[in-house]
Symmetry: C2
Subunit: 170 residues, 2 copies
DNA sequence: ACGCTAAGGTTCTATTTTAGAACTGTCAAC
DNA sequence: GTTGACAGTTCTAAAATAGAACCTTAGCGT
């Protein structure tokens, strides 16, 4: 399966994976949330090859996650800043970091602590239900098809080689 | 940078990316949360090559995210079920799906809807601060080093080739 | 004028991953 | 005794990534 195919799956997870589902993209976004904005700053702190960094930045701009803004003319210099779409990735970043904090730390403890400026305390992110405000667990969630689901009955059912099916859900 | 190097970074994001940061792992985990458990079930619904599926399942078992349980002797057959460590990935999955729901759907709408059995309503996941209960936004969070951070002053500062640095944070 | 550095890339080859398909082995049913 | 399900393994070809060098515009020091 190609990356481009992922974007078109009728599955919100697959489509998001098409944007952030590689070795480097989440790391680049981490740097963005740490207020890094420039090519060399990303390259130095991540150790990513310049080739790949250029490629990933282009991709993130294409997806509307970052915006490429000139901050100097002659020579033209650009920096990359998060759009609202990019800022909305914050819950993903935080839940990824939190899982690492819980399950992947060594004996020395957490590499980083997060302080909530509103209340002044070190915190963990907690996922709650937007409707009732209770914490959500996998077993308490029932999933069912929405309007954008793949049609149940295939209109043209000429699935020639069903061996390598690519069906999917969200 | 190799995958193995990622696991050892002093950064909870990098370490988590070492587990879930590839094209297929999150998709496999989606199927797990949709109650799929068997090799062929994964392969059929994802269209992943059998080679890669075997590899990713092994990796997830090695990381303690899945457990490989025999459900039949002669012939020996196994199924893969989420451990608690695996179930704890749910907020990541949900925040990824939610971002896709908000930013990557086409005109037909969401492919899937999530119902919270506790309150009976369709919901979105919401990230709040564990301390004050308010929704968290990137600009309201201050990050600083924790006990597991890379030591600020290098004990043996013989960084021979500083050109290709690999520094990192969490 | 000359060399040096900085930023933001591009280009090149070598290595690693992934895709795609076929093959293996065990058992049960037809 | 052939077919089919299940859970993989093995093979070759194609794609992605690593690692390093190179390019361009421009400022600074001498």
């Amino acid at each position: 399966m190609k990356w481009d195919a992922l974007e078109e799956e009728p599955c919100s997870l697959a489509r998001t994976v098409a944007v952030i589902g590689d070795r480097w993209t989440l790391m680049i976004l981490r740097e963005c949330f740490l207020r890094k904005r420039r090519f060399d700053a990303f390259q130095t702190s991540l150790g990513i090859t310049r080739h790949l960094l250029a490629d990933r930045l282009k991709k993130l701009v294409r997806f509307g996650v970052l915006r490429r803004i000139p901050y100097m003319d002659s020579p033209k210099r650009y920096e990359y800043i998060l759009t609202q779409k990019g800022l909305d990735l914050y819950p993903i970043i935080m839940s990824v970091v939190h899982w690492g904090n819980v399950h992947m730390v060594d004996s020395r403890g957490r590499p980083m602590l997060h302080e909530h400026k509103l209340c002044g305390k070190h915190f963990d992110p907690l996922m709650i239900c937007s409707e009732c405000g209770e914490p959500v667990f996998a077993k308490e969630v029932h999933v069912h098809p929405g309007p954008g689901a793949r049609e149940a009955v295939a209109p043209k059912a000429n699935i020639s080689k069903a061996r390598t099916t690519k069906a999917s859900r969200a």
